[in-house]
Amino acid sequence: MPDIILKYQAEIWQSIGETFVMVGLSIAFALLVGLPVGTLLYLCRKGQLLENRSIYSGLNIFVNIVRSFPFLLLVVFLIPFTRFIVGTAIGTMAATVPLSIVAIAYYSRLVEQALLEIPRGIIESAVSMGASVLEIIFKFLFVEARSSLVLGLTTSTISFISYSTVMGIVGGGGVGDFAIRYGYQRFETELMIYIIVMMIIFVQAIQFTGTTIAKKLDKK
C-alpha cells in the first residue's frame, strides 16, 4: 500500500463512507420516488392509460426545473428546505437532500423513457384482462421494462456519484471531494490519482453489475 494512502487512511475510509451514504440515499429516493414519478409521467401522457394533462405538466415541469438549475445553485436554493428536513444545512446528511431531489428528477425521466418502449400490444392484453392500473404497472410494465429500468438506474447511480463530488461546498464530503481537497488543492497528485483510479474501478464495477443484471433479466 503506497505511503500516501496509509497516511490518509482514516480520511479515505471516512470519505468512502460519506459517498456511500450520499449515493445510497440518492438511489433509495430514485427508486422510492423517482420510479413512481416516472411511471406517472408515462401514464399521464397523451394517449396513455391515465391521460391527465395537469398531472403530466406538473411533474414534467418539476423534473425540468430540477434538471435545469445549475447544481450549485440548486444546493443553495434548497438550503432552507434542507434545514427543515434534516435540521442543518451542512454535512453529509444535509448534502443528501439536494442530491436526492436531483436523483428523483433524473431517474424519473429515464423511467418514463424506458416505459415508452413497451409495445402497445402488451398493455392492450393487460387491459383486456381487466387489470387495474396498479396491476398493469407491476405485472406488465415493470416486468417488460425491467432490464431498461436496471440500465437506467445504473446510468443514474453513476451520475449521482458524479454529482456527489460537488457536495463539498456544504461539507458533504465523499471521495470526489476528498480527491479535490487533498489531491488537487494540496497538489498531492499521486494521492489524487489513486483516488480517481479507485473511483473508476468503482464505477466500472457498478456498470458491470448493472449490465449483467439487465442482461440476465432480459428475455426478449
Partner: protein, 253 residues
C-alpha cells in the same frame, strides 16, 4: 350475451379517414360459437376489439353479459373484462415472463390461491400441449407454440366470453384440431360464448353456430350454419404424408 348497437369506429390514416367499422349491429346469444369472416382489412379484428371496448367506439352501445360496457365506470369495466378472455392476432405475450407465468397472470388478477393457480395453469398448458415448455420464455418458442400459450392464457380464468382473433392461424391441422376440440369442450361444458375471427373456412364450418361475413367495415350478412366435424387427423406425422400421397393417388387416378 353480446349485443352491438349501431357501432362505428374510424381511424385517421395519412390524409384521409378510414371507417374500419361502420354502423354495425349484431347480437350473439349465450353459449353460441359465432364466427366472423371476411377479406383482409374488412374490419374483423376491429370489431372483435370493440366487443370488450379495447377500442372505444365512435358511436353506439356495446352490451356484454347484461352490462353496457360503453357506459360502465372504470372499476366495473375492469371486472367485466375479467370474464372476457381474448386471444390476440399477434399473441401479445409478456416476453419477460415464462410460459407458465404468462398463463398465470389472469389467475393472479382474480386472486387465485397459489395452489389453485399452479393446478389451473398446468391444466391449461395441457389443453394446448405445452406442459413441457412451462419454463421457456416466448422468444424460445416457435410461432405455433406462442399462439398456443396465448390460447391457454385466454382460457385460464374460465371466462364467460372468449374473443379469438385467428386463434389457429399459426397452427398445423393436427394442432388446430386439438385446439378446436378444447374450444368446443369449454363451450359445451361451461357454456362459454365464443366469438372467433378466422379466415380458415374449415375451422369456421366445423365449429361455428352462426357466422357473420364482413366487408368494408359493414356486416354483409349473418347466417346460421350447421357445424360439420373438422376432420381430426391422427397425432401421427405420417398423416401429412398420407394427405399428400392419397390426394396424389386420387389425382393420378
Amino acid at each position: 350475451m353480446i349485443s352491438l348497437q349501431n357501432i362505428s369506429k374510424s381511424y385517421q390514416q395519412h390524409q384521409s379517414i378510414l371507417q374500419a367499422v361502420h354502423s354495425v349491429s349484431l347480437n350473439i346469444d349465450k353459449g353460441e360459437i359465432h364466427g366472423v369472416i371476411g377479406a383482409s382489412g374488412a374490419g374483423k379484428s376491429t370489431l372483435l376489439r370493440l366487443m370488450n371496448v379495447l377500442e372505444t367506439p365512435d358511436q353506439g352501445t356495446i352490451v356484454v353479459n347484461n352490462q353496457t360496457l360503453t357506459t360502465l365506470p372504470n372499476r366495473k369495466l375492469r371486472e367485466a373484462r375479467r370474464s372476457i378472455g381474448m386471444i390476440f392476432q399477434h399473441f401479445n405475450l409478456v416476453s419477460n415472463k415464462t410460459v407458465f407465468d404468462n398463463v398465470a397472470v389472469p389467475l393472479e388478477l382474480t386472486g387465485y390461491s397459489k395452489k389453485a393457480k399452479v393446478d389451473r395453469v398446468n391444466e391449461c398448458l395441457k389443453f394446448v400441449g405445452l406442459e413441457h415448455k412451462a419454463e421457456q420464455y416466448p422468444a424460445q418458442l416457435s410461432g405455433g407454440q406462442k399462439q398456443r400459450v396465448a390460447i391457454a392464457r385466454a382460457l385460464a380464468n374460465r371466462p364467460a366470453v372468449l374473443l379469438c382473433d385467428e386463434p389457429t392461424s399459426a397452427l398445423d391441422p393436427q394442432t388446430t384440431a386439438g385446439i378446436l376440440d378444447v374450444l368446443k369442450t369449454v363451450n359445451q361444458e361451461f357454456g362459454v360464448t365464443i366469438v372467433i375471427v378466422s379466415h380458415e373456412m374449415d375451422v369456421v364450418r366445423s365449429i361455428c353456430d352462426k357466422v357473420t361475413v364482413m366487408d368494408g367495415g359493414k356486416i354483409l350478412e349473418t347466417v346460421s350454419i350447421e357445424t360439420e366435424p373438422y376432420m381430426i387427423p391422427d397425432n401421427d406425422p405420417k398423416w401429412f404424408l398420407e394427405q399428400l400421397t392419397e390426394k396424389e393417388r386420387n389425382s393420378n387416378a
